[in-house]
């Protein structure tokens, strides 16, 4: 009985795909817009087998990673400053509050002015868009260090640097990691967006080119690849979180 729900879910998904396949084969739905799953799969297989998939995948992954790393660094540093110091908060918060709801893609035109249609432009935009979750999370993390821990630190006469490294940073880590996970998802989306806009090699550009030449199986293959990538990245961070936060287990 325990295995039944899993089976049902698999049957449902398979049923949808088969329905799609049949409708496409019988030409009830246009092959141009909805190519049958088998064509998408064989396209995906072709890209895998010929090694064509790796270059754009790698380009998108690196772009995403650099932007995300930059965003995480900036987010943690700013977040620590704001969460730790009342003064820094007063000075920085209103400006950041104004910038935060700005759609990251809206800074693309400005970024193009400064960096041209280049890789640095894409990384800058990704960093701008991905910084907010990690920033907010680390502000929260650093601002809500337990009182008792702070008292312990005061009793031990820790210096401010020691307090930061030994007490504040570890206790803010869960928040930071949760923020970083959201940031990474945003970074992937922005990597795709900036590639489309700046014609940089990558999965986003692949999808755009496929659409322009009406190669719809390739388009779908690209979308599927991105979906798998998004899923895999999320899983990877969940695993990383569990590993890094193992020390917390005994508390709960």
């Amino acid at each position: 009985m325990k295995r039944l729900p899993w089976l049902g879910a698999a049957l449902f998904a398979a049923g949808l795909l088969v329905l799609w396949q049949v409708l496409a084969d019988r030409q009830f739905i246009s092959q141009v817009f909805f190519p049958s799953p088998s064509r998408t799969l064989s396209e995906l297989y072709r890209q895998l087998a010929s090694g064509q998939l790796w270059k754009p995948l790698e380009a998108t992954a690196f772009r995403m990673f650099y932007g995300w790393a930059l965003a995480s660094l900036a987010g943690v540093v700013l977040g620590a400053a704001i969460g730790f110091s009342r003064t820094a908060r007063d000075y920085l918060e209103p400006t950041l509050e104004f910038m935060r709801p700005l759609p990251a893609s809206a800074v693309i035109p400005a970024a193009i002015l400064f960096f041209g249609l280049s890789n640095s432009m894409t990384v800058a935009v990704i960093a701008f868009g991905a910084v907010w979750p990690v920033l907010l999370a680390s502000v929260h993390g650093f601002a809500s260090v337990e009182r008792q821990l702070m008292e312990v630190a005061a009793a031990l006469r820790l210096s401010r640097a020691q307090l930061f490294l030994k007490i504040a940073a570890p206790s803010a880590l869960p928040d930071i990691l949760a923020g970083a996970r959201v940031s990474l998802a945003i970074a992937l989306i922005l990597a795709v967006v900036t590639e489309m806009q700046a014609s940089q090699t990558g999965l986003g550009q692949n999808i755009l080119l496929a659409q322009r030449s009406f190669r719809s199986p390739e388009l779908y293959a690209g979308v599927v690849t991105l979906g798998i990538m998004g899923f895999a990245i999320n899983q990877a961070i969940v695993v990383l979180e569990r590993r890094l936060l193992r020390w917390r287990g005994s508390h709960e």
Binding site: P5, G8, A9, A10, L11, F12, A13, L16, V32, F33, T87, D90, Y91, E93, P94, T95, E97, F98, M99, R100, P101, L102, P103, A104, S105, A106, V107, I108, P109, A110, I112, L113, F114, A185, L188, I189, V192, V193, M196, Q197, L203, G204, I207, L208, A210, Q211, R212, F214, S216, L219, Y220, G222, V223, L226, G227, I228, M229, G230, F231, N234
Partner: protein, 252 residues
């Protein structure tokens, strides 16, 4: 008072340095423009009606997409929330779709709908439906079982049950999902315009950048920031009241 002043220091300083730097010829005009020109460009854009029109086009696509996502998300969410069997069966297929970046679908929607409102709204709807759906499923599942038993005892038909019991009981939490979706809708609409769709503020910025009118581009960028900030402030206020009016305890 001191906090407000401190918060104003950074923006005032940036704009003053910006203006002074460009007047002194330190900042190249074709990338930086200057604040006074930006204000003039904004005034010109407002008086000739181009910025209000672009704002309306963007808002329209965001609203239509949001409305579709809200209706679809709540409807499917209620059904999945009420039936654990369906949730188990359909859930994994939905989870497989969710990590697909909405923007990756723009080429596909372009194939389907061509340029215009429909493709933009479709992408917005795809992006917005997930928070609504997920929150609705959780909210409906969290409804006090006795309420549903009452509905059963009263032999209410499904529409009446939905209107009189389920939605009122779950609304407090569904609103949270809707609030997230509203913010996403504006972001996605602008992104689609920047990447592809020739309408609205996003397109306006791209055109201003490409036709070497950085002042107009910055004017639209700052205007967009103001819009996003205003929307956010409005939602926080409305949402806060909602939560207060609803009070705790109705939905766990």
């Amino acid at each position: 008072m001191k906090r407000i002043l401190r918060g104003a220091v950074l923006p005032v300083l940036v704009f003053a340095l910006w203006e002074a730097g460009s007047r002194a010829g330190l900042l190249p005009m074709d990338t930086f423009s200057r604040p006074s020109d930006i204000v003039l460009a904004f005034a010109a854009g407002v008086s000739d009606g181009s910025i209000p029109l672009a704002t309306w086009l963007t808002a329209q696509a965001a609203l239509v997409g949001f409305a579709i996502a809200a209706v679809a998300g709540i409807l499917v969410g209620v059904i999945l929330g009420l039936s654990p069997f369906l949730e188990r069966t359909v859930g994994p297929s939905i989870e497989a779709l969710r990590p697909v970046p909405a923007i990756a679908l723009t080429p596909l929607t372009l194939l389907l709908f061509g340029f215009g409102l429909r493709m933009e709204a479709a992408v917005v709807a795809f992006a917005c439906v997930w928070p609504v759906l997920i929150v609705t499923v959780a909210a409906v599942r969290g409804i006090e079982p006795r309420l549903l038993e009452v509905a059963q005892a009263l032999e209410l038909a499904f529409p009446a049950r939905l209107r009189k019991i389920i939605l009122p009981a779950a609304l407090g939490r569904i609103v949270v999902g809707l609030r997230v979706a509203v913010s996403i809708s504006l972001i996605v609409a602008v992104t689609v315009e920047i990447v592809m769709n020739p309408r609205g503020l996003g397109y306006g910025m791209i055109i201003a950048q490409q036709s070497l009118q950085p002042a107009l581009m910055y004017a639209q960028l700052l205007w967009l920031g103001l819009l996003g900030w205003g929307l956010n402030a409005l939602l926080t206020r409305a949402f806060g009241q909602w939560h207060g009016a609803f009070g705790p305890g109705v939905s766990p």
